[in-house]
Symmetry: D2
Subunit: 388 residues, 4 copies
């Protein structure tokens, strides 16, 4: 337990009325009772920001018209009142400037992914993070699932032997028609290159798949050959794509993702095979990890069981049999981030468990992946290295 | 939205350090940002109550030594400070006196199940609830799952035709050995008749199964024939049992539950068949409802989809593909309860959705079920009616 | 390998045009190339018997008008021409007289289940089998599945410890309406007490569930309490029922089966729990056996794997990954029966594997079960012992 | 029914003692009672051929030392004795010469896949088939599954709209170590380029995946980019590979297969998405086809149900609930082939259902696919067209 007995205060950029991911961040942050939302710049429309804050029971004076105003005014508040970190839950193009402003104003940052609009921004942000010495978390939330941590920990402990192959996939179907023309807000900005960046599906979910594959396998993608497609007429960004992967050290794999796979929800799946065993995890049944062997029965690892790794054990709130899901996984990022902040405030070394959340290095890799995918595809799936 | 823009304040009885369900209630209450824990009598040990409250960032003066003290002192606080409802998360034997004290002090109550230690208490409690006119919620949390609501709503709309058969089961394995002798707190009170009541497994999980079966089918159990067993030597209460069910109106069914089914987590499952169709729901895959027909393919209903009933649609926080689980279902009870309180405070009729949480009538039925099971089994599985 | 290098010849009683189970027996018998159908009394209608035989490429002179004629004429053929055993695939009421006739004419018998129309016949048949010393197989085909054998073998080896609980169920939905009034042949005789016996669903599928439960658990049902129902108006026999089970030695359980569970195919499932572990098997995914433990991950046993018991290993034809199903399981009974006959012809002791098929003792137990169910239900689910 | 009332006679090339696929062909051919094995050249070792035939109850004079001898001597037999078609179940390098010999001797051919050792042979064989006018079947057996036919028929009827994406995969794990060095016969020839051809995994299972993808989608692969690998040191052929696909008309996809994916059996899976819906089929649960829609629940299509297409309905032997598997699917190829031969013998137009089995055109495409994969991979995954 931290030496100080109070909730940590945070503010939010984005996430006003009608947004999706802002509410997710707030529920994730609220779940464990460690964090308190104290202010926000919820919308680029000042009235909407005010109205959004009112629904969240915030005082009007802490509902800001812009993130710039929020950074300035919060910084001017007494230390025991002002926010301690900022959650950035805007469309992609605001991630970098908002994070930069927050860090430079002295606030830790928890940002939605991808880290920035392009790779250059990500590299710049990494320098800012390093320079300020502040904490930066990135909500590649799937790594918050306990069975994902278990998979990573088994592989890093050598249980599967040298890894040979990774297949990761993330099919969705919600953009199978031109939803962005109907006023659907989520679809609109995601298909707008100015707000989403160089990639559509790959910026939104392909980078999750990349992050998950590298997290679990412990391997870095070295080069890739990508064939990405825009199936829906008139759409400005990719809505589907298939990628051959080559990892450092010789493993290979496949990554494919889609937003036009009708009937799919968030079908994020990963399979990894090593010389001695294999494993698979499915986001739609996240409490289970199937581990496979050559000479004995496959094993069904389950969240909450007594045999899990310390990281996996710490990433759950209830005994086996109480299904945990997306919000709990998301909350695990916030929980670790909060504990990390507590250690910083307490001036002690953080528990390794509390440092187990995606950080700026993941953000840079993600942006390098996205740009490599786009470049490879433009070159007719030529092998392209990640520019790191 | 409610006319008043603040969180609703609540206090907790039980749920101190080392407890399980108290933390569940707190996470469920916190998730939607509508409720604020302001006080508690977390333990019968005053110091433990204080320490528990400190971990929850409560002020020492609002960490009470007893629930009686809490009712008295909170009632004496100004209206805009004092708690507005009480969460009771103690072992069963405290449910009734704590609820009675809270209601009589003017506080709404959200209680863990079963409602009371025995049926007589439950009937008495029902009278107190009626007399005070206050709200009483009972955390038969499985009815909070959106696909459970969908099942109920499809059946009540006649989609399956007249219901013929219900099979409900709740096997667990955690008490396959004499865990209560090892100091495990959860096992200890659950196997102690003074704290748990006349039944062990049936008090703990059998009543969940009963509640779920009646909730989904819309049918009331009329009589039952039960064969319950204590498999573990020296245990004082049942740890397993099988029950034949007859419902009002002619449907029949089976209910079985167990705490000695090695390897089972919370394997609560229900299947219902009517003249025109059938459905099944599994708590370990709670985002899916399988609906079966005689002359066309079975259908896979999914949480968050656009075709769900209003109650099911309201009971979810994220689009399809973001698995929701136990805590979200639990939170749905608190969300509806909170909205119901807001309507009461606003002096308006509550939205029917906000009234969709288990109440005292469910509690009385649950206790009648438990007593009928015990009585039937003592009479060698003689048919026994519920005493209502 | 047997010393003689030829197929074993068999004849068939029943199974003419329009029948279901006769074709199943023929496919099962043909699959392994060990058996040759040489004659039949396929129908009580002589022309239909002839036509049916023609479709099976039999000579007209070996398509008989009655089973009596078949027994007589085949017995008169030279030893190297005449059939060596008889497959009985008629409605239930013909099982006993045809088996009796075959045995008394010197032919081994493979009979569809249940063994006879009532328990008295079954006991009489057991005496005839014993007296003649001939082989009698009963197609409780589900015991032919390799993973069912694996389950039995693990339990008999003590892997799960002392068995405590058995839950077996067999819901079907095909008789949810009065199909027998539409001319559907399978429905017609099964719902006719003169042809089906004292029970409908329990004669057809309940006895399969009973047989499977006893086979896998190694335990004998001692007494039961049954509540059986006829849901469809005007139907003469039960189409659903729920049964509490007590086994010799103290284990308990539940058996329920149904033909009115709309949307269910042949959803035969069994779960068994012992002091140390549990297992479950589902007929709709028959190549898998899930084995569960208290302190380590559940294990997924798979047909064809190298770690299976000798009986399970012998009951399969292909390596893992080539799904085997109902016909292969059925064929396993014929394969073992054929090998048993070869041992008899060779005059050697049969391999224990070849004796692993249901025999007359299973038939007697099955009839005792059916009669106990009917008697118990008539007595309002009074506990009733099996009359053995 | 055919006008002639006898079984069709066939001979076998390969499939002697110790072989795997020969027994599969024999069981598949035997299952429906339409075919009779009358002769064979089971092994290149004459004594082994004789011994193998004896186990199959064949006369010694019809167990030949070579397939050449078999063609010659069978052709010289009276028309009502000699075989009518030849099953070729040898390693790949014998497929072409044996098929050529059979066709030129006037016999229809059913061959195991891939059709030949290389593409040139396949094209030559296509000319021989055309010239002789005889029937040629190729056991791409997965297309024999009823739910695979249902998938194809739904797509060809436009149920899913224009197809956009196909993902097909076939991971196995049995060659994760150098099994070919242990004397394991199946591994030995498959990893020998002289017997297997230019590809290992892709010749054995990759071509199945290609065939299935084209069969179900109704689309022809136009070009591909392949990255294939030999993971096991010293192995002479690929044991894994990942392929980007582009189909005629603009659909795209991914194909990956593996023999080093530890713990995988025959995990052949396919998913197809069109503009209006998607579907998926898994060989390890072959009786189910999941069909997905954007605006209504996914549907679970089941083998044997009343709503299936004529081809799917004809490809099954039992009602729903009786799992059918690999052998039944394989048998469907033989059943259709047999019915096609009957039509030829009867001199009538064959029923379209009976023509629904893979033929030489599939064989040519398969070989073109294999060669394209190898060529592309040698060119570092350069896009490569199928040479047709």
């Amino acid at each position: 337990m931290s030496a100080f007995k109070r909730k940590i205060r945070y503010g939010m950029v984005g996430g006003g009325q009608g947004a999706f991911i802002g509410a997710v961040h707030r529920m994730a942050a609220a779940m464990d009772g460690q964090l308190e939302l104290v202010c926000g710049a919820f919308s680029s429309d000042p009235q909407r920001s005010l109205d959004s804050g009112a629904e969240l029971f915030l005082k009007p004076e802490r509902c800001y018209a812009t993130y710039q105003e929020m950074m300035e005014k919060e910084a001017a508040l007494p230390a025991d009142e002002r926010m301690e970190f900022v959650s950035i839950v805007t469309p992609n193009h605001v991630h970098f400037p908002a994070a930069k402003a927050a860090l430079e104003a002295g606030f830790h940052v928890m940002s939605d992914k991808p880290a920035t609009l392009d790779l250059a921004e990500a590299k710049a942000l990494a320098q800012i993070v390093e320079k300020t010495g502040l904490l930066y978390g990135l909500t590649h939330n799937y790594t918050g699932y306990p069975m994902v941590k278990q998979a990573r920990d088994m592989i890093s402990a050598g249980a599967l032997g040298t890894i040979r192959k990774v297949v990761v996939e993330y099919p969705q179907g919600w953009l199978a028609t031109k939803l962005e023309d109907t006023g659907q807000k989520q679809a609109a900005w995601r298909s707008d290159p100015k707000k989403s960046g160089a990639a559509g599906a790959f910026g939104d979910i392909g980078s999750h798949a990349e992050n998950l594959a590298e997290f679990i396998s412990g391997l870095a993608i070295a080069e890739l050959a990508a064939d990405i497609t825009t199936y829906v007429d008139g759409r400005l960004l990719d809505d589907d794509g298939n990628v051959l992967l080559r990892f450092e050290g010789g493993a290979k794999g496949v990554l494919h993702c889609s937003q036009i796979s009708v009937g799919e929800e968030n079908n994020l799946n990963i399979r990894v095979w090593g010389e001695k065993g294999g494993l698979e995890w499915h986001q739609n049944a996240p409490n289970t990890l199937l581990v496979k062997w050559s000479d004995k029965p496959a094993e069904v690892y389950r969240r909450g069981a007594g045999y899990l790794s310390p990281h996996a054990a710490a990433a759950t709130r209830t005994p086996p049999g109480h299904p945990e899901g997306y919000l709990e996984a998301f909350a695990n990022l916030y929980k670790n981030f909060a504990n990390h902040i507590r250690a910083v405030v307490d001036g002690i070394d953080p528990d390794p468990v509390s440092m187990d959340y995606p950080q700026i290095a993941d953000g840079v890799r993600g942006m390098a992946f996205i740009e490599a995918v786009v470049a490879s595809s433009k070159a007719n799936a030529a092998w392209t290295k990640l520019d790191l």
